[in-house]
Amino acid sequence: MPKQTPETLTGAQIVVRLLERQGVRTVAGIPGGAILPIYDALSKSEIHHVLARHEQGGGFMAQGMARATGVPAVCMASSGPGATNLLTAIADAKLDSIPLVAITGQVPKPMIGTDAFQEVDTYGLSIPITKHNFLVGSADDLLTVIPRAFRIAASGRPGPVLVDIPKDVQNQLVDVDEWPAPGCADVVPPPDGELIERAAAMINAAAKPVLYLGGGVVHSGAAEAAVALAQKARLPTVMTLMALGAMPVDHVLSLGMLGMHGARCTNLALDECDLLIAVGARFDDRATGKVAGFCPQAKIIHIDIDPSELDKIKTAHVGIAGDVRTVLELLQPVIESPQRHAWLARVASLKADHPLRMPGIDDPRTPYGLIRAVANCLDDEATITTDVGQHQMWVAQAYPLRRPRQWLTSGGLGTMGFGMPAAIGASLAEPERTVVCFTGDGSILMNIQELVTAAEEDVNVKIVLMNNSSLGLVFQQQTMFYGERIYASKFKGMPDFIRVAEGFGVPAVDLDKASDPLAALAAALATRGPMLIHASIAMHEQVLPMVPPGAANKEMIGG
């Protein structure tokens, strides 16, 4: 870096300058006493600060930006409750490998450990839910810590990094005569060539292979390479919840989502396969069911950027540590292109005999019908977020996802309250897209306050609220597995969501009261700006098929 004229700056000014140099254009957060110096510096910056109404909402807005673009996004909070409120959003990012940089204010260094006002051990609390974290000791250290935070967040398997900055460090003056380069992802070491050859030989020798794509395919930009490999080697392909969109769901080789709420044909094909090629997937229990019963006859090739994922749940016959896109591109020229008549015919017959059943798909007053009606109004440029619960699984099953990063959902942590703030973040990052958030009456209440943020930012976010007056997935499990003893899952009080939305400044439409719900839906989705679209659904509707928790995937109920 060329030497520049030395400047005397505060730690806070250094943070903001480093964010600017990093290319950050939008941050989400809430100020408070211990982070006020940074906010004061931010007020003089071109960076757009989005004022969330709860720090968790701010964390999920940053997640929405990061998930939509793949670039690390920034959220901010003050010390104490500000930091603790952020934790859920950070943990969520950790489990789904989302690059996030969380900046928190901390009480001044001399007061740390004194139980000062709004003091909490943010560093200690965030250790197990971050990829890495820092408690910054001096303003000078910020020059290395901030770029390093971005580098760590983006490198290898992405993840959240927290930087806790005491207030006196934010106020400390230092001379800066040289700026560090922005932090960017490290180069991933090339995969072992011999392992590529062995994997290719296994794929070439397999009679009944299945390609199993996980979220890592999206993170590494490997969707195109995965589809190319599947096409050349004629590999029936399943996707985890996190990978949806990596292969268009209507692609002839796609078997859609596997696991607890996958189609019967999908789980049955896996049960029969003789080779499982896992790419950027981590054998999550919601995907595998009982592990001993998952692909019981299959050899396993496991490709992942994180070596600790190899052999963690299932021992791989060939485990390749590397960037999945690189590995897939190296495999492409060395795999053969067999006809695979027998296996493809078998998979086709499984699909014909055990398809995903979507009752009511043509009726917009049913869950599947509503989801399909929304999809019919949009193209693949739209971004879809969800909250967590029945609606999430229905959308995962029924929405025709065709584009990587089209689908933003809380997979690993399964956080209710994710959907709406994540949609706001996605829209802030890519304002040209329509962003649809499917949510439920349980989930939306967990971050309902961000409706006012949506109104304030005038984001093009359409919230489709599927209201069954219950915690639907709890209701479903109590119905199926707890002798229909329904407890604490039916809401007795129900807000008037139309008036709630309007009260927050977000226009709302109630499909229940529309004489032509399809027309009302189309009009709502075509109107620019935030909108809440309310639709009641029946409480007894279930997500099917369902693998009982702890059972093998072939033991599906219903569907």
Binding site: Y123, G124, I127, P128, K131, H132, N133, L135, I152, D306, P307, S308, D311, K312
Partner: protein
């Protein structure tokens, strides 16, 4: 400690892990947190700075367990861990300390 007697405990197969780490507050927390969240007891810990003090060496004495390979991979992933080496229980680093623990 669990309910094993000292003699029984010593009969379990042991592994000694040697970690080179950056020397700053919090590194120990990162390392032992990986064990504690898995209810994986660390039987012995020994830490001293190395050379200039920029790095430290952590010696961990742990029981052999089917989770150990995964534990080592997780430790290797930590930003502040520079290297991990595995040794057998015969490694003398903890043996020499036994006189302080009678």
């Amino acid at each position: 400690m669990n309910s094993l007697t000292r003699t029984e405990n010593q009969a379990l197969a042991r592994t000694v892990l040697e970690l080179d780490v950056n020397n700053h507050a919090g590194v120990m927390s990162h390392v032992v947190g990986l064990f504690s969240r898995r209810a994986y007891n660390v039987e012995g810990i020994l830490v001293m700075p190395v050379g200039s003090g920029a790095t430290s060496r952590i010696w961990l004495l742990v029981n052999e367990d089917e989770r150990l390979d995964q534990m080592v991979k997780q430790v290797e992933k930590l930003e502040d861990v520079l290297a991990v080496r595995r040794h057998g229980a015969e490694h003398e680093v903890f043996v020499r300390l036994e006189e302080f623990f009678v």
